[in-house]
């Protein structure tokens, strides 16, 4: 593995001083509602700048393990930006600067010694528009195991491909045409292929950036079922513009507005008894 990734613009400023204290601090009054799972991802005071423009203002959040956490909010509210901080995809944008602290299983992912390449193998991502590689279905899923060298034999690789496709609920549809191009599938199938591709690397966290926004209602329903299934094994963070979707699939919901994390809590509570008026306005459709 090449490890010469330049350490990007992470500012280990004042937030590092009080790190341990921060980690133990309860985040919101609602945090107590989902103590069933331990926090997998913890963020403290994360700010993001794109050039001169500040996109995120001091976001702190605890994302519990093996559950679905939804980020909702109007366009441009910073929810996707924050999502991309969790696997350091923002590193690929030259003008983007991230400050603050994000930990996965207690380890700082913006640590200088941490290789973002290895991080992304643990934190998979599914994008808004299905983006299968212009390769065969098999090669799409085998891509991750190949680059990470996680399988040693062809047989093992075949197994990983099959398991991943099964977990993504795509196996029965494509098992007879694994050698055909992934780009030839329908939009919903392509998105499930992308999920299978992400699973094949063996991640712990899967980030989904509006995974259904380019799909029709039936394909969306299938992906939502799949997300529900996957939450048994993975920690899932999903950005969505559809409040119904957030209500259907997630256990926790975070509402972002103008770069601030306004409110975070159990989904039920956010949708039935939001404590912030902005959240209420948003979920009742008064803006956004």
């Amino acid at each position: 593995m090449v490890t010469d990734h330049p350490e990007t613009f992470h500012n280990q400023g004042p937030t590092t001083v009080n790190r341990m204290a921060d980690l133990t601090m309860p985040l919101t009054p609602a945090a107590g509602l989902f103590t069933a799972n331990e926090a997998k991802v913890t963020a403290r005071d994360v700010t993001v700048h794109y050039g001169e423009k500040q996109a995120l203002f001091g976001v702190s959040i605890d994302i519990p393990e093996r559950s679905v956490t939804a980020f909702i909010g109007p366009s441009g509210c910073g929810k996707s930006t924050f999502l991309r901080c969790i696997n350091r995809m923002n590193d690929t944008i030259p003008i983007c600067r991230v400050a603050g602290e994000i930990r996965i299983d207690g380890a700082d992912i913006y640590d200088r010694r941490l290789d973002p390449v290895l991080l992304r193998a643990r934190v998979g991502m599914v994008f808004q528009k299905p983006n299968p590689f212009p390769k065969s279905i098999y090669e799409n899923v085998a891509y991750g195991p190949r680059i990470h060298g996680t399988t040693t034999s062809r047989q093992e690789l075949d197994e990983v491909v099959e398991t991943s496709l099964r977990k993504a609920g795509l196996w029965d549809e494509v098992k007879d045409r694994l050698d055909q191009p992934g780009t030839g599938l329908s939009g919903g199938q392509q998105q499930r292929l992308c999920i299978a591709r992400a699973i094949a690397v063996g991640p712990e966290v899967i980030l989904m950036d509006e995974p259904c926004s380019a799909l029709d209602p039936i394909a969306t329903a299938r992906i939502e079922e799949l997300i529900f299934e996957l939450a048994r094994n993975f920690t899932i963070v999903i950005v969505t513009h559809s409040m119904q979707q957030a209500a259907r699939v997630s256990q926790q919901t975070a509402f972002f507005h103008l770069g601030h994390l306004v409110e975070y809590g159990a989904t039920e509570q956010i949708f039935t008894a939001p404590s912030d008026t902005r959240t209420q306005d948003y979920i009742t459709g008064r803006f956004g």
Binding site: F133, G144, I147, T183, V201
Partner: protein, 457 residues
Amino acid sequence: MIALYFVLMAIVAVAAFTVGAARGRRLQAAGLRLHSLPAYHGLFLAALCTVPMMVAIAAWAPLAPRYVESSAIAALPEAARPTTGLERDARLREIVLSAEGRLTGPAAANVEAAGRAYLSAQTTSKTVLIIAGILAALAAFSWGLPRVSADFRARNRFETFTLVVLIACSAVAVLTTLGIVSSVLFETLRFFQRYPWWDFLFGLQWSPQTAIRADQVGASGSFGAVPLFVGTSLIMVIAMLVAGPIGLFSAIYMSEYATPRFRSLAKPLLEVLAGIPTVVFGFFAALTVAPFIRRAGEALGLSVASESALAAGLVMGVMIIPFVSSLSDDVINAVPQSLRDGSYAMGSTKAETIKRVILPAALPGIVSAFMLAISRAVGETMIVVMAAGLAGNLTFNPLEAVTTVTVQIKTLLTGDQEFDSAKTLSAFALGFVLFFFTLTLNVIALRIVRKYREQYD
């Protein structure tokens, strides 16, 4: 007079447009709902009136000289009329010169009379053209104007007309290609009547000197083209060994690693290379690179010809770097960012992403960039003339002098020519085979692309 005709055509077009559009507007003002906008009625009328004028001049162009010439000949007295084609041409030249007053020496009375007849016939023909053109335009106009009505589908008509114009333009390109190919083909067939084609295609000896007298040295030329094609391929391979990796790697650097600032500076600079005239590359090759290679070779104990395939190939490689790099850079940039994101998000490094995702997706474009570079290398003449020599050696040794197909064509067709000797005609045969050669390369490349293409949309 002819310029006047075109001015007239422009005036007719503008007038027809104005009248048509005005009429359309008047209908609109009268409260009618037009099928097409008034401007389309104008455009329709303009096209309708100019097309007959164009047809008229197209018909006139080949007919007029015939009429003018025959009336000039007819003005000669019976006895002075030419009998053979050659004689007719000579007499006509005399008449034209006399008519234009450029004849040196006194003109015979009958030639002078014929000259006057020539001039008057010319005036008549041009007058006829202009009158015919105006009449045709008027006829078209008077036919078209009453058609401008609310229901008339002027837009559809005009769009059909546009379509026909577009088809005609592409037909010009296709027909030109066909014309060039067939003209070369016929000269090639003439060559093969004088020289057996298998000796040409498979002969190993190239010495195109044909003797003027029968007892001269080298009395029989030998036209085996194999050394030329070997020389061409040798230089092409050397050039691509230089341009391929350098061009492709610089394209990868430019599109994937370089900062936008550096790229915006470096890319135009690299493209300047493509703008250097080949003759400049040629003397660079002949005066700098070739002697350097020779000295370097001597230092290593190799015998290097002062004009070597290596020198020409290296310089040609440098010349075609921009073709490879600039085009590859464009196609790599065209690979969607979503594919890069997808790959990075799975924990692949930049190098892995480039190698496994970007390059395969950009492959068709990269192959066509290479093909363009190869065509350029095969067709290049100047560098090879100056740096690789003229000797038709059959060799694969890059340190020896070789010659290429294009260089030989240039050598065969410069200077005074006799167009019925095998020596001159062989140039056409070489050109035809070269054309076939590049065509084959293109077909192979297309096949490769189709087989390994990874389509991303």
